[in-house]
């Protein structure tokens, strides 16, 4: 049932994005040729359009694209002159490192912050944590990136200003240390802004748990403080927090688009922006689909975690 729904959603997303992109006033041929447009005659133009299959009726174009997609061919990127799947594959490696780092850091730090705030509820710790998280929720991700850039790259000069690898160095000469250097600032930005959601959610969840009847009973049995949290608090908030982190892949991807743009980090996000700006239709379609799969993946894992870890789901069915 769930997989059928997912399939219909995917097909619909393919179709809608295809229609949307085809209706764009941005001329893909012009975008493809760029500044040389003046030198291209209408005959040449015709040839290019034919080559990309741009003259056929829109439904035919969709079915051509769709059947190629099913065969695993996502088309060829116009700006990178490379198959879309290859572009996405390469970019994904960069993005995944960035997103995973940020995902883990923001998850762990946010969770800890939420726990501390809830345990110290209504103290100055809690209040400042809440204030900070609400401020974060209103902070533009890209501005945070710019601040990080100003402080750590411009003022302190600890890190390079942009690009995933040093400029002017051959790809094979790039060392892990270089890559790490270019990763730290974007990952830091993404971690900082990602903390708020988990922290507030965990705080609220733990406050709910602390107000529950089983915590009341545990206190009646003489448990308090850390023991109480360790025995009954943690196990009841870890699953929702994990689920939330996995279900937040959509925001993670959005954040990555912005941070990658600020730091010129060569990941999927930057490719998405490039494809949008320069009218690279096949790449943009490929990225929409890929990001959707990415979000689906996150939701699927979130679902699985509940099924595997929560005894009410796990053992409830076997009874």
């Amino acid at each position: 049932m769930k997989s059928i729904r997912m399939a219909t959603l995917l097909v619909a997303i393919c179709f809608i994005s295809f229609l949307l992109i085809k209706n764009s006033p941005i001329d893909p041929i012009q975008a493809y040729i760029g500044a040389d447009m003046l030198n291209v005659g209408s005959e040449q133009r015709e040839k290019i359009a034919e080559y990309w299959g741009l003259n056929e009726p829109i439904m035919v174009q969709f079915f051509n694209w769709g059947s190629a997609l099913l065969a695993g061919d996502m088309g060829t990127s116009m700006i990178y002159r490379q198959p879309v799947s290859e572009v996405i594959g390469e970019r994904f490696v960069h993005s995944v490192v960035l997103m995973l780092t940020a995902w883990i850091f923001s998850g762990v730090i946010g969770f800890t912050m939420g726990v501390v705030a809830a345990m110290k509820r209504d103290t100055w710790i809690d209040r400042s944590m809440k204030w900070y998280c609400y401020m974060l929720a209103s902070t533009p991700t890209f501005w945070m990136g710019l601040l990080v850039l100003i402080v750590f790259a411009v003022w302190l000069g600890w890190f390079p200003i942009g690009l995933g690898v040093p400029a002017g160095v051959l790809a094979k000469d790039v060392t892990t240390v270089d890559q790490l250097k270019h990763l730290i600032l974007p990952a830091m930005t993404l971690s900082i802004v990602g903390v708020g959601n988990v922290a507030l959610h965990t705080r609220q969840k733990l406050i709910d748990v602390l107000g529950s009847e089983y915590i009341l009973f545990a206190r009646a049995r003489g448990e308090w403080g850390f023991i109480l949290f360790w025995r009954h608090g943690l196990r009841n908030i870890v699953i929702p927090a994990l689920t939330l982190q996995f279900a937040a892949f959509s925001e993670l991807f959005g954040g990555a688009v912005l941070t990658e743009q600020v730091f010129s980090y060569p990941g999927l996000g930057q490719a998405t922006v490039e494809a949008g700006l320069r009218g690279d239709v096949p790449l943009l379609l490929g990225l929409v689909l890929f990001s959707t799969m990415f979000v689906f993946g996150g939701n699927l894992i979130a679902d699985l975690i509940y099924r595997l870890l929560d005894p009410r789901m796990r053992e409830g069915r076997s009874r």
Binding site: I21, F142, W143, S250, V262, V273, G276, G279, V295
Partner: protein, 278 residues
């Protein structure tokens, strides 16, 4: 806690915060509107100046006053956010009411639509829609309207369903009142506060997303004094140490967004609405 705070209860505090927030926002909008367009004209004598009394936010590489640019940008962002959030609220209300009142099939279709919009990352959808409309004002407004409605639609759906099953509505129905009468006399007055608060809470998100898409170069045109444009242009000059080009406009955006968020939250407290809008 400070004694002045304990004297007031939660609602009184909410009222005060609401009034302060409204006053603050009015001031910002008024500044943005009355500012002299002259001040952002090119002035080559005062280029690249760091913040001073005369130019509190500094000037840029063309000698334009950053304070004026920022406030004009903020006003523009509030305008775009307003239209986008309004559109989104409208979509949410219509779909929410449809799914609650028009039977199982309609409900299923709306919930499928919600899933559809939640499965693509917001920002990617925004880029896609902006691309479709060739960038610019129309693209960004439509994009914002189309991406922010799902959570509010769910809330309105739940609210309408609850009222429909409430006793007084059942009685009206038994008394032979028409659906239209019930909708206007019972359902609409009940969901109106929800819609208002939902709108207020959508607003800050709409502003942030507008700025983000414009920053990426897919939103408002570079000739507009938008915050996203200011920040994206500033990137070229950051390595030269001109931090004020990015710092102040972003900080102002942050304050505005936070103020709208607080306004929404406090109006919710004042109206006694207890549904989690996240």
């Amino acid at each position: 806690m400070m004694p002045t705070l304990t004297l007031l209860n939660k609602k009184q505090r909410a009222l005060i915060v609401t009034i302060l927030a409204i006053v603050f926002l009015m001031i910002v909008i008024v500044i943005g509107v009355v500012l002299d367009k002259e001040s952002i004209s090119t002035n080559l004598k005062h280029r690249n100046a760091s913040p001073t009394f005369e130019h509190p936010f500094g000037t840029d590489w063309l000698g334009r006053d950053m304070f004026s640019r920022t406030f004009m940008g903020i006003s523009l962002s509030i305008g775009v956010g307003l239209i986008g959030a309004f559109g989104s609220t409208l979509i949410a209300t219509i779909l929410g009411v449809i799914s609650a009142t028009m039977g199982k099939t309609a409900d299923r279709i709306v919930s499928w639509l919600i899933d559809l919009f939640l499965s693509v990352p917001h920002l990617v959808t925004l880029i896609l829609i902006a691309f479709t409309f060739g960038g610019g004002f129309k693209g960004i407004v439509i994009g914002i309207a189309l991406t922010h409605w799902p959570s509010l639609a769910r809330i309105i759906r739940a609210e309408v369903m609850q009222i429909r099953s409430a006793e007084f509505v059942q009685i009206s129905r038994k008394m032979g009142k028409s659906s239209w009468w019930i909708a206007t006399k019972h359902i609409f007055p009940h969901i109106l506060p929800q819609i208002l608060v939902g709108f207020m809470l959508l607003f800050p998100h709409a502003i942030l997303h507008e700025a983000a898409v414009t920053f990426l170069g897919l939103g408002l045109s570079p000739h507009e004094p938008a915050i996203g444009i200011i920040l994206s242009e500033s990137m070229k000059y950051l390595s030269a140490g001109m931090w004020w080009l990015a710092f102040f406009p972003g900080l102002c955006l942050l304050f505005i967004v936070r103020t709208f968020d607080m306004l929404g939250e406090n109006i919710r407290i004042l109206m006694d609405i207890n549904i989690d809008h996240k």
